[in-house]
């Protein structure tokens, strides 16, 4: 029991907490401008702030720029409101004198807006709901209320829907292909079964990148698949196979097949062959035996294989990026992009958390449904 508990904590609880913490952490303003952040938290948020706050902001922005510490803050504020980066940089580089409550708005009118200061005040709290809200296409308005994102920036709900749809499609196709394969493998003599297992495992040991690239070569315009179809007269123009949803599903099914076949074979091998003879002696046809006896008994294998395939499929992004079109990219591609190129780890954390929760819900649902289905069929 204890090892299982440790595994669950390490593999599930810790990542969930880390993702959540990354998604709500908001340290940039506090780190770059500690005095300003303190004053902002004391300020009541009504009207424009008092002179000391203006002065602290001006001084600390200047110091932060000199110390090469302005980047993270300007990225953070620019993420909440476009154009903030330019304002911060101009302010940090300007020569100014007291009173700063006059000098700052003179430099950039936005320093004279209450909305700018209330936004800064929210950013000084250390935690923010902003990333989680953006991950579901919501936004924090200037007055702090929650509003919908404008149409051209609302992308994530659609993306989550697409990710789930592709993962489900891939899971269904994989199970349909894997079931007959596993059924056959479970009935082979030990020697042939070993060979079949090796054949299933060999592609499993080849890197995903290599297998995906192989599909790219097979499916391209002047590739062997199109050439064969043209030669047979099935087509008179090469068909667009690569950069399509079809290519994404095909390549993902290929990568994920072993994950479905192996658990199914394991379960099917344990089904007692005497049950078949018993069913026959009671007058069941072959089909009735399969439907009422064999299939319900093999369902745990189908459920396990399906769950593994689904959970892996949800996280794919290299395959869609290589063989898919623009409308086949999945959430993980954005998580990767936020972590590696735009450095927005808050957004990456928020998306990862949502993906984890959604996957968890689907898995929970399946775990709940499979035993019921099994009872009903038997």
């Amino acid at each position: 029991m204890a090892p299982a508990l440790i595994l669950v904590v390490l593999a599930l609880v810790v990542p969930l907490l880390v993702a959540f913490a990354t998604a709500v952490r908001d340290p940039e303003l506090r780190e770059a401008m500690p005095v300003t952040a303190g004053l902002l938290r004391e300020w009541d948020g009504r009207g424009l702030p008092p002179e000391p706050l203006f002065e602290a902001a001006a001084r600390e922005l200047r110091a932060a720029e000199g110390a090469q510490a302005l980047g993270a803050l300007s990225r953070r504020l620019n993420f909440e409101r476009s154009g903030m980066r330019g304002m911060l940089l101009r302010t940090a580089r300007a020569e100014m004198a007291a009173p700063y409550s006059m000098a700052l708005p003179a430099l950039d009118a936005r320093w004279g807006e209450v909305a700018t200061w209330t936004m800064l005040r929210r950013a000084a709290l250390g935690v923010t709901p902003l990333y989680l809200l953006r991950a579901v296409d919501l936004d924090v308005a200037a007055d702090g209320s929650v509003v919908a994102q404008p149409e051209e920036e609302a992308v994530f709900l659609r993306l989550f829907g697409r990710t789930m749809a592709i993962a489900l499609q891939v899971t269904v196709v994989t199970l349909l292909v894997a079931y007959p394969a596993a059924y056959t493998m479970a009935r082979l003599s030990p020697g042939w079964a070993r060979l079949a297992t090796v054949l299933v495992l060999v592609p499993f040991w080849v890197s995903i990148l290599v297998r995906t690239t192989a599909w790219f070569i097979l499916l391209q315009r002047e590739g062997p698949v199109n050439a064969a179809l043209l030669a047979m007269g099935v087509l008179d123009h090469p068909m667009q196979l690569i950069f399509t949803r079809f290519a994404v599903v095909l390549a993902m099914v290929h990568v994920l097949l072993p994950f479905a076949i192996l658990p199914m074979v394991g379960v099917m091998k344990r089904i007692d062959p005497r049950l078949g003879r018993a069913a026959a002696s009671l007058g069941a046809t072959k089909w009735q035996h399969f439907r009422r006896v064999y299939f319900p008994l093999s369902l745990p294998g189908v459920g396990a294989g399906g769950l593994i395939v689904f959970m892996l499929a949800v996280g794919f992004y290299i395959t869609p990026a290589l063989v898919g079109g623009n409308s086949d990219q999945m959430v993980s591609a954005f998580i990767a992009d936020y972590t590696t190129s735009t450095l927005n780890w808050g957004m990456a954390g928020a998306l990862a958390l949502l993906l984890l929760v959604l996957t968890g819900l689907v898995v929970g649902l399946v775990l709940l449904l499979v035993p019921r289905l099994r009872r009903r069929m038997a």
Binding site: Q68, G71, G86, E153, A321, D337
Partner: protein, 344 residues
């Protein structure tokens, strides 16, 4: 006895984990790969290794700033000298990802105007142009406006998966003149216009992420037209591919050498950058590879210019200079919008 041996191995393990040998690793240079890096390895990297008597290794990346930012944050800096594009360099300088360069070691006077920034010393000019395979398509588009004519020029088009260069190209295709591109793109209406222009050909766009991809796409016939790095296109053309170099479609900028903040080899890295921007090794490099250095003496060298018709700096007047200040200010917003647009 056993206790002492345990203690010894524990001390050893701790000293290894504490990173004692940080000083011992070789100087690491990281660039964008390709033919340039193969030749730079010979003349610049190993050239410095020979002259300074230190070991130099090199590696390749695709410009992902996060890898560098992460190693700076973790105080485990394994890269010393990095080749960086201009807007990323300026942003990385603000972030404290790169060291401010030591101009007492690096001679600032030898560079062309715009060849140095606080954290970067100009390495080479680079550019992108439109190209296609004339063996497949005898008469392709000559301008971005024609590239947008999908009725006259059917087939997929490949662009780099970044708003930088793609949005400029979209505006030029929509009829904006070279000199007005950044003025228009700085307004909300201009940005809307660029995305609307991209929308018109969206179904025909295939994105590329690494510099080798556009050449693979065009060579395999998967894509009819691509906008790719000039150096690689010129190289392929030199090796027999029928790719025209359409200079009026050029967009160009400089890449810079930068030093990763917190590198244990900072002083060595500064000296190496000074060596790599000296005329002698660059002239040797130019014998093997068409470069457009930011070092004035080499960029203006008549022999180098004549030998390398594919030099970006030979065609500066025909092309659009990518505006670094613009991308520093608007990069975050446009990247966000571009990603959202591309995903739908």
């Amino acid at each position: 006895m056993l206790a002492r041996r345990l203690l010894c191995s524990a001390v050893f393990a701790v000293s290894v984990l504490a990173g004692v040998p940080a000083q011992a690793r070789d100087l690491m240079v990281v660039g964008f790969g390709g033919g340039f890096q193969d030749n730079a390895r010979k003349h610049l990297f190993q050239g410095y290794a020979r002259s300074a008597g230190v070991a130099v290794k090199d590696d390749v990346y695709n410009g992902e700033m996060a890898r560098i930012a992460a190693m700076v944050k973790a105080r485990d800096v394994t890269w010393d000298v990095v080749m960086v594009e201009a807007p990323e360099l300026v942003r990385g300088c603000e972030d404290g990802t790169f060291e401010k360069l030591d101009w007492s070691v690096i001679d600032r006077a030898k560079f062309v105007p715009g060849g140095t920034l606080a954290c970067g010393a100009g390495a080479v000019g680079w550019g992108v142009t439109l190209f296609y395979d004339q063996k497949r398509i005898a008469n392709g588009p000559k301008s971005y406006a024609e590239l947008w004519d999908t009725a006259k020029f059917p087939g997929k088009r490949s662009f780099r998966f970044t708003p930088k260069t793609t949005l400029e190209i979209a505006l030029m295709a929509d009829g904006v003149a070279f000199q007005d591109v950044y003025k228009v793109l700085a307004t909300r209406a201009g940005q809307d216009r660029a995305f609307a222009a991209l929308d018109r050909i969206k179904g025909d766009i295939v994105w590329w992420r690494s510099g080798a991809q556009p050449l693979q796409f065009v060579a395999s016939g998967e894509v009819a037209y691509a906008v790719g790095f000039v150096g690689r296109t010129a190289r392929a053309a030199g090796e027999g591919a029928a790719y025209p170099l359409l200079w009026p479609t050029l967009l160009y900028s400089f890449d810079y050498w930068a030093v990763v903040k917190g590198s244990p080899n900072t002083a060595e890295a500064m000296r190496m950058i000074n060596f790599m921007t000296e005329p002698a090794p660059l002239l040797a490099l130019a014998q093997d590879w068409a470069v457009s250095p930011a070092t004035k003496a080499v960029a203006d060298d008549a022999g180098v210019r004549a030998r390398n018709p594919g030099m970006v700096s030979n065609h500066a007047e025909e092309g659009l200079s990518i505006n670094t200040e613009f991308w520093v200010e608007f990069g975050d917003d446009l990247e966000k919008r571009f990603a959202a647009w591309a995903a739908r």
